[in-house]
């Protein structure tokens, strides 16, 4: 069929041979708005450039990434993403080019800053993938509007304000509500909606403070318009293709990262869609995007089709990751190749192998992305969604229809839902509506957060009251709005009214109604025998067995057996980019209920299933995905076929070439069992790995084992022995190990009994949770009573989540422990093979006990602990691993008071610190662990001894407080950081300095330091103040602290506390008074709920003002030490991981 005509156009040189070395920049720590999707894009980019024979120099401060694996680049720098650090790296490496389009907004901004600082010109580094002019035109909203106007495209009416006066003038033009978009921020930080005149000052002020250029775009509201995104790709020859169209279920007004989105677009005719395509192409051309992936967002008026361009990103984005996973088209990989001179038509489509990458994918399924929120971690945060992104992760689900995909996405979220379930039996909607209402009226910058709201005993409410509350709830976008909407539908609200309240397209409402109607019909049949037709119909609408079981009043197992008996089983279809037009060679699958099965499991070698971590959330993020990817790499090395199961589109694990086979599926028992059955039918399934993906797969260990699926590595029983308090205590008694005194309780009375025995302060936490959810330190009986209620509630949820039906419901359990005040905490990671235990690393926390280990900075190796203590910690770790029969990874947390060590927690699974330890020591522990789980011995793998590097590695955490107006920044036992960075250097001080620089908190070298600390910290405050005074800082202090400093002769400026009246400490932060140095650093520690509330405003204002701060003395002292050492800036040095690791090996 191939025509014989000679090609008569000139063949370009496909790949640029003038470039040898390319600098690839990552996006740094995981923050809201910039998550693991940039590890996916950076990893794809690095692999693609490597395969093309380029020397890749990679920079990223985030150790928990695959892209910073030393194998992926010639040189890997885990260094701060600052102009200073990049300048040194560029001077050292002399790359020919820099590719900034795969590292999110961070990399783009850094590219611009390097250009402005003259670094790129000085060293002759060419920007590839995007020119600085294109970046500026796309990012600067004024230039962007002008560009759109030039090609005849509408943008919202707007103006740029630099102060309040300008803001008032612009708002007079655009009217209310007005949208705020600060320039050069990511995830829409600082953005918001001004509804009326009374909100102008606070909201515009906040927006200005968030913009690095103190500029905010105020624009006409298109609230309620339909929102679309096109993911497009273009090459240097002007070839252009739309990879994916995405429709937001949530209309304009909610940040696209916080919206439920659907691919492909569902409610546009072709004419309307092509109009958007033409507009996207015109925008790309006008902005001057030379090559690569971009994303263009549109608003479409549902009443008349008017189109407005909202924004475009001249780079790979979160949506590109979604589009890649949704279609199978590897945008980042293709973008990297286009940047080095290839044209689209010169690249193949990996999935079909025979067709070209120059095409537009066609998909024959529906994809739903659903964001994952973590508001429970941020009491006081405004729960309303708006133009500033607040979600911490997302899931994606694939189904043949929207209903199926939507319900699969709902159960992938791991928020305790089995689908689009009703919350009516459990939720206190009237209370929730009140929370939303109060949030709308609170002064977020100055009023401390109200007490965490807990669902108290619900008073009986009528349907009318419920409907009123629900109507208020659905009219405001919030994390669970779709559940609220479905419940309002259940209470009889019409689609017309729901459309009026939400502006959600009637097509989506009609689909949701199909789900609700089916549920209603099934509930009416409750108690009757299951019908095969109904079950089949339900499965095709995406209902889980658990949902069907609850309607029928049966157990999940009953429904499963019924399905099996009636041959109602999922089939697997392939994601093939082409709607089956061509044969797909890549086994990238999703389940559905259709007539033909394309899974085609192989039978030629043994296979291992790796269960991923599900959506990113606080406490379970990219670190676990890193471990899962490493398992895939390691097991492939051993010759196993690797099979990944995950539902998170932002990850490397869901790239189709990370494992041999990929199932994009929810991580529930039902879905995982179906895959095990499919893959296990030939008897080649060696087992399933559950210990690398965090709590998500771990909680499937027992039910999977019960279903006869082999669990590789540490047994489900051992996991239980470490988790179950009584078994755990028995083990410690047997081994003669010490832990803080503690007890368990099921209610307030039980908790009081334990408290009387142990005394205060007490650490209270629910059982079976991760990331310190609802963990707190209570100081007295009042606080105990208050918090135990919440902890019981959280424990109940957690247990409901892990329970498989048929099991007897256990009482929710909370754990109460003696709080080790002022203890130093340590984390230990180890790997064991059943015979030998090898310590991965001992990490000493910088913050004292009481701060969650995931939020604390830590140092490896320990910098102040006595050798005897470290040895003892290691010995205890070995004893525990041996006793538990660990095969794989284990993490132990210790508290150290003087020479005494206490075991705080034992987790026989991968921990958050595994990637950090691996990057610090050069030993890939997750890979080793995977091989051990597959039956290899540590000795055979060449790992017999701990590797203790001479260099120092510091991990620092990164917090999302700026994204949550109204949230206190003080740290506690509940984890709230979203990501981490790493600093490596020859001394602790230098490494710590790098780490806090990388975390975005550059330490000041001059100015005023506010010190306001609790009584216990006053002696240390004197040490701190003396150091800072010697370094040339002026000291500002409140009452007690000022007195203490005065007594030892340290000069200080005294300011009033807020309670003492104006001018007070908050005014001092906000305004630099004449003749006095501006505040450059704030050290504020506090204790007890009352004092915390009283000092809320100082911390929030410090955050607002963008001033570096510390809320623990330990971290502040470490910072002072770092300043004394005086490294970064002047004497900073950079070194690659490969060099550090070579040094370790030669020791």
């Amino acid at each position: 069929m191939v025509a014989s005509g000679a090609l008569c156009y000139p063949r370009p040189v496909p790949r640029r041979s003038d470039l040898k070395k390319i600098l690839l920049v990552g996006s740094g720590p995981i923050v809201i708005g910039q998550a693991s999707e940039f590890d996916y894009s950076g990893t794809q980019g690095a692999k693609a450039l490597l395969a093309e024979g380029y020397e890749v120099v990679l920079v990223n401060s985030n150790p928990a990434t695959i892209m910073t694996d030393p194998e992926l680049a010639a040189r890997t720098y885990v260094e701060p993403l600052t102009v200073e650090a990049l300048r040194m790296i560029i001077a050292r490496e002399r790359p020919d080019a820099m590719l900034p389009t795969l590292g999110g907004q961070t990399a783009l901004n850094l590219a611009l800053a390097l250009d402005e600082a003259g670094v790129l010109a000085e060293f002759g580094v060419e920007l590839i993938g995007a020119s600085k002019e294109a970046i500026r035109k796309a990012e600067d909203r004024g230039l962007f509007k002008a560009a759109c106007a030039k090609v005849g495209l509408a943008t919202p009416k707007s103006g740029n304000a630099h102060d309040l006066a300008e803001a008032h003038a612009i708002i007079a033009e655009v009217g209310y509500p007005a949208i705020l978009r600060p320039s050069f921020t990511l995830g829409g930080a600082g953005g918001g909606i001004v509804w009326n005149a009374s909100e102008v000052e606070a909201k515009v002020g906040w927006a200005l403070s968030q913009s690095p250029t103190r500029e905010v775009l105020i624009e006409q509201s298109v609230l309620g318009w339909k929102e679309y995104e096109l993911e497009v790709i273009c090459d240097s020859a002007g070839n252009f293709a739309v990879v994916c169209s995405i429709e937001n279920l949530d209309p304009m007004g909610v940040h696209t990262g916080d919206s439920i989105t659907v691919a492909p677009a569902m409610t546009l005719t072709d004419r309307e869609l092509q109009r958007l395509r033409d507009a996207a192409r015109a925008v790309m051309l006008e902005i001057g995007v030379a090559t690569g992936g971009s994303n263009v967002q549109f608003a479409v008026n549902p009443a008349n089709g008017d189109v407005i361009v909202i924004e475009m990103n001249p780079r790979v984005s979160r949506s590109s990751a979604l589009a890649s996973k949704a279609t199978g088209y590897a945008i980042a990989k293709v973008a990297a190749k286009l940047a080095v001179g290839y044209r689209l038509d010169e690249l193949r489509n990996d999935i079909t192998r025979t067709t070209s990458a120059a095409f537009e994918p066609s998909i024959d399924y529906v994809v739903v992305k659903w964001p994952r929120f973590a508001f429970e971690k941020f009491p006081g945060a405004d729960p309303r969604l708006g133009t500033q992104m607040k979600s911490v992760g997302e899931v994606m689900a694939i189904g043949r229809t929207f209903c199926e995909a939507l319900q699969k996405a709902a159960r992938s979220l791991e928020t305790g839902k089995d689908g689009l379930s009703s919350l009516l039996p459990d939720a206190d909607y009237i209370g929730l509506a009140g929370v939303l209402d109060r949030a709308a009226r609170r002064d977020l910058a100055n009023d401390p957060a109200p007490d965490p709201w807990t669902a108290g005993p619900r008073t009986a409410s009528t349907d009318v009251e419920l409907r009123t509350a629900l109507r208020a709830l659905v009219a405001t976008a919030s994390a669970e709005r779709l559940f609220h909407l479905a419940d309002l539908m259940r209470l009889g609200e019409t689609d017309e009214e729901l459309f009026r309240l939400t502006a959600i397209d009637p097509w989506f409402l009609a689909q949701i109604r199909r789900i609700v109607d089916f549920e209603t019909a099934q509930k009416a049949e409750s108690g009757k025998p299951l019908s095969a037709d109904a079950v089949r119909a339900g499965k095709r609408l995406g209902f889980s067995d658990r949902q069907l079981a609850s309607y029928a009043g049966a157990s999940e197992e009953t429904v499963r057996s019924f399905r099996e008996a009636h041959a109602i089983k999922p089939t697997f279809a392939r994601v093939d980019t082409c709607a089956a037009e061509f044969v797909a060679y890549t086994p990238y699958m999703y389940s559905t209920y259709e007539t033909s099965n394309e899974a085609a499991p192989t039978a030629d070698r043994e296979k291992i299933i790796i269960l991923g971590g599900g959506p990113n959330r606080i406490g379970q993020g990219i670190e676990f995905d890193y471990c899962c990817c490493h398992a895939a790499f390691a097991l492939r090395e051993l010759g196993y076929e690797t099979i990944m199961v995950n539902c998170n589109p932002e990850t490397v694990s869901t790239d189709y070439d990370t494992s041999d086979r990929l199932y994009f599926e929810p991580l529930t028992l039902e879905d995982v069992l179906a895959i095990c059955e499919e893959e296990g039918r030939d008897g080649k399934l060696a087992g399933v790995i559950v210990q690398l993906g965090g709590q998500t797969p771990l909680k499937l260990a027992k039910p999977l084992a019960r279903a006869g699926i082999p669990i590789l590595g540490t047994s489900a029983d051992a996991i239980d022995r470490a988790e179950d308090r009584e078994q755990f205590d028995a083990m410690l008694v047997k081994l003669g190990l010490r832990r803080p005194r503690g007890g368990i309780a099921h209610d307030v009375e039980g908790a009081r009994v334990v408290a009387r025995d142990i005394g205060f302060p007490l650490l209270v936490r629910p059982s079976y949770v991760l990331g310190g959810r609802a963990m707190m330190i209570v100081n007295d009986d009042d606080e105990l009573v208050h918090y135990v209620g919440l902890a019981v509630e959280v424990a109940r949820e957690a247990m409901r989540d892990i329970r498989t039906s048929g099991e007897i419901e256990q009482k929710p359990t909370i754990l109460l422990d003696e709080f080790l005040k002022d203890a130093i905490e340590c984390d230990v990671d180890c790997v064991a093979d059943g015979e030998r235990v090898v310590i991965g690393g001992v990490m000493q926390h910088i913050e004292e006990a009481g701060i969650h280990s995931g939020d604390s900075a830590c140092v490896l190796p320990p910098h102040t602990l006595p050798r005897t203590v470290v040895s003892s910690i290691k010995e205890q770790t070995r004893m525990l691993a041996t006793e538990l029969g660990v095969r794989g990874l284990m993490n132990v947390q210790f508290g150290v008071i003087n020479q005494a060590t206490y075991i705080i927690e034992v987790n026989p699974r991968a921990s958050r610190t595994v990637p950090f330890v691996s990057k610090a020591t050069g030993v890939a522990f997750a890979k080793v662990a995977a091989k051990v789980m597959a039956g290899r011995k540590l000795e055979a793998l060449g790992l017999v001894d701990e590797v203790v590097p001479k260099h120092v590695s510091v991990k620092e955490s990164v917090f999302p407080f700026a994204k949550f107006p109204g949230v206190d920044t003080i740290l506690g036992p509940e984890m709230r950081s979203t990501g981490e960075v790493m600093g490596i250097d020859s001394t602790f001080e230098r490494a710590f300095h790098k780490a806090i620089m990388a975390a975005g908190m550059p330490l000041p070298t001059s100015g005023a330091v506010i010190i306001s600390v609790r009584d216990d910290d006053k002696p240390v405050a004197i040490v701190l103040a003396r150091k800072l005074h010697r370094l040339g800082f002026s000291i500002v202090a409140t009452g007690g602290t000022a007195d203490a400093l005065a007594r030892v002769g340290i000069p200080c400026e005294r300011v009033q506390k807020v309670a003492e009246g104006s001018p007070h400490i908050v005014d001092r932060v906000k305004i630099a008074s004449e003749g006095r140095a501006a505040v450059a650093l704030v050290v504020n520690t506090t204790w007890g709920s009352r004092a915390v509330r009283d000092s809320y405003a100082i911390r929030r204002q410090t955050l607002l003002a963008g001033i570096p701060y510390f809320t623990t003395m330990a971290a502040a002292l470490a910072a002072a030490d770092a300043l004394e050492e005086g490294a970064p800036g002047g004497k900073m040095e950079v070194r690659s991981l490969q060099e550090w690791h070579a040094a370790v090996r030669s020791e």
């Binding site: 509408a154 569902m266 033409d278 024959d364 709607a579 089956a580």
Partner: protein, 383 residues
Amino acid sequence: MRDRRALLALADGTTYVGHAFGAEGITTGEVVFTTAMSGYQEVLTDPSFAGQIVTMTAPQIGNTGINKEDGEDERPRLAGFVVRETSPVVSSWRADESLDAYLARSGVVGIEGIDTRALTRHLRDSGAQNGAIGLLPDDNEAARVALVRRAREAPSMEGLDLATGVSTREPYTWREGTGAWHPDAPGAQPVERAKAFDKRVVALDFGLKRNILRCLVDVGCEVIVVPAKTPAAAILDLRPDGVFCSNGPGDPAAIAYAAETVRGVLGKKPFFGICLGHQIFGLALGGTTTKLRFGHRGINQPVRDLTTGRIEITTQNHGFVVDLEGLSATAKLTHQHLNDGTVEGIAHTSLPAFSVQYHPESAAGPHDSLYLFQRFIEMIEQA
């Protein structure tokens, strides 16, 4: 929604159970699939689908209903419509009626609930073939067998003249452009008034898509549409500036008269052909056509313009292709399919005449190839 079990039976005996929608009855035709994710209304009304049962690989169909503007002909011409799921509502500010009502009113038999992916894979692997859709009361085996028989008895697409039947009976003049839907960025002016209807083009209608006419008007033409069997002399009598030969259904080899007509205008007037018009042009130059196994149907098909090297994402709907062998003396290859290398465009080596296999007017599909209408105008101006 009505719930009537229905069956799609293929000539090879494969059957797919679903539910009937649209018109009631039995239909037969060649079962094909299109991978277009948008534009089902354009697909339904594209006369090139006459005699075919069209499968949409996109699963959710009917969401935006049917409107007055987007039809490519006044009524649907296809033989049947196969989808995974129809929409319970219509959601579009332009919609006038639902898909179901439109098909029922237009006499088109539809079937939904079909595993369209399995069907598509089957057609891909075993080739396009005839099929029949009919009701299947009570899972009746006799009905099943009867439908398979109907599928086998349906006439083969090869050698079938379907174009003559869908052509206009009477000549008419067309002066409507794309107007508000002009593919330039919103706000840009379409053709300036002074140039409007500047050129007269006669279009031979073999199953013409309206958007071709709109695109010709956009570049300054007034179009006189004439019936398929209009002889060359009658066309030339209309004193056109250029002659256009349209798309259409069926086997190009079955309408030998058309090649004769084209030979009669070649060299006398600039010529442009699309799809079937391209195949007729190839035949007129002494070439041959062959049938592809399952054709190119979709709006994501990459084509290389060999003069510039640029890639266009094109709309395609064809089961036959022109073979280049035998054309080397008179025509050169101008456009080629990027995936399978098939002929997508040719131009006469010396005369002002060219054609493309794909649909530059898109509808549905991207607007990457509109330059071809401008190229036709330039050819006319240079003639």
